[in-house]
Amino acid sequence: MTSQQVLLFGIVGKNEPLYEAEFNKLPGSTTVDSITRQNYFVLHSALDLVEKAAWATNNMYLKVVDKVNQQQVSTFLTAGNIKFMLLHSGRSEDSIRNFFIDVYEVYVKLAMNPFYQYDKPITSKAFDTKVRAAARRYLS
């Protein structure tokens, strides 16, 4: 099985990544280190393009901002300028949009927690569980 099936989801704040998760990893298989690093590299190098795309449209959902080899990076920009980014190899835009909207809801609820500060790494396990559930619902 190729790593094509693995999706990398990252939340990036102003200075640093706040949250990362891989979805659809086949149980028992470990992604080769170089592939993982490459995935991270592709995802984060798309940040400049996200900024560019953000000025072009009014929407929060920025669709695909970058294409590298077979992989595409889709982005969702929150109202607080936090970037949700998904590295994938071709999913329907609608399912990705629904996934982002679900994650946005969970993110907003997290942001309302007085113990969570804006633009800090997200360590809540409840958040992690909900994001993975959303991924299973829309992206598998």
Partner: protein, 219 residues
């Protein structure tokens, strides 16, 4: 016309009083109170607690501060409660037993100010203590206490002894103090810390005598 209006009012009052007292009264008063946005309320309190945590290191001190804040609120709340309850219901004479007081707090007080009801349970044999079970807590709508491993990553903040809703204890203590009952009030179980229900234990310590305080003692 005025006469008919009065008649109608009296009929309403009798109706309300004749149905089982506390719950109905609570609902009636809740309907008349001005409402605030629940999210704003929860967020304001959350910001207050977060700020206290930044100021103090010791969770016990934080609980004490919240209790003091609650005390200030309580002494003012009880006046509003008595004024409004009297106006609407021509409230029956004061409670004869602690149990009645507990029912009034749980069904009318909590309902009127917060919109949630509490249950009175575990009234002690001598009638000097009771517990309140709170199933819904509007203060903790979005709150999730950071787990201990998250805390170690940040700075040392042991929140396992923090009673987030200590303010309720202070409110009860302050309110009862104004009606001459000195109580001790503490949070026994907290949903935020993992229990199934919020439990507040209230114990009557002494009945205070009426008086205007030492400053006004006649010489």
């Amino acid at each position: 016309h005025r006469f008919l209006q009065n008649q109608q009012e009296i009929k309403n009052k009798i109706e309300i009083m004749s149905k089982h007292g506390a719950t109905q009264s609570g609902n009636a008063l809740w309907a008349k109170m001005p409402k605030a946005n629940a999210e704003l309320f929860a967020l304001t309190y959350g910001a207050l607690v977060a700020e206290l945590i930044r100021d103090y290191d010791d969770p016990v001190k934080i609980n004490e501060q919240l209790d003091r804040i609650g005390h200030s609120i309580g002494v003012r709340c009880v006046d509003e409660f008595l004024a409004k309850a009297d106006a609407l219901l021509s409230l029956s004479p004061s409670c004869a037993t602690l149990r009645e007081t507990a029912e009034v707090i749980a069904k009318i007080g909590f309902k009127m100010f917060l919109g949630v009801t509490a249950d009175v349970v575990n009234v002690s044999a001598d009638g000097k203590a009771f517990s309140l079970y709170l199933y819904e807590n509007p203060l903790t709508t979005f709150v999730e206490l950071p787990s201990s491993d998250e805390c170690e990553a940040a700075n040392s903040c042991d929140l396992s002894h923090l009673q987030y809703s200590s303010v309720y204890c202070g409110i009860i203590r302050g309110a009862l103090e104004q009606v001459n009952m000195r109580v001790e009030c503490r949070f026994v179980r907290d949903v935020l810390q993992g229990d199934e229900v919020n439990e507040i234990r209230v114990e009557l310590k002494e009945i205070l005598s009426d008086g205007a305080g030492d400053d006004y003692k006649e010489e």
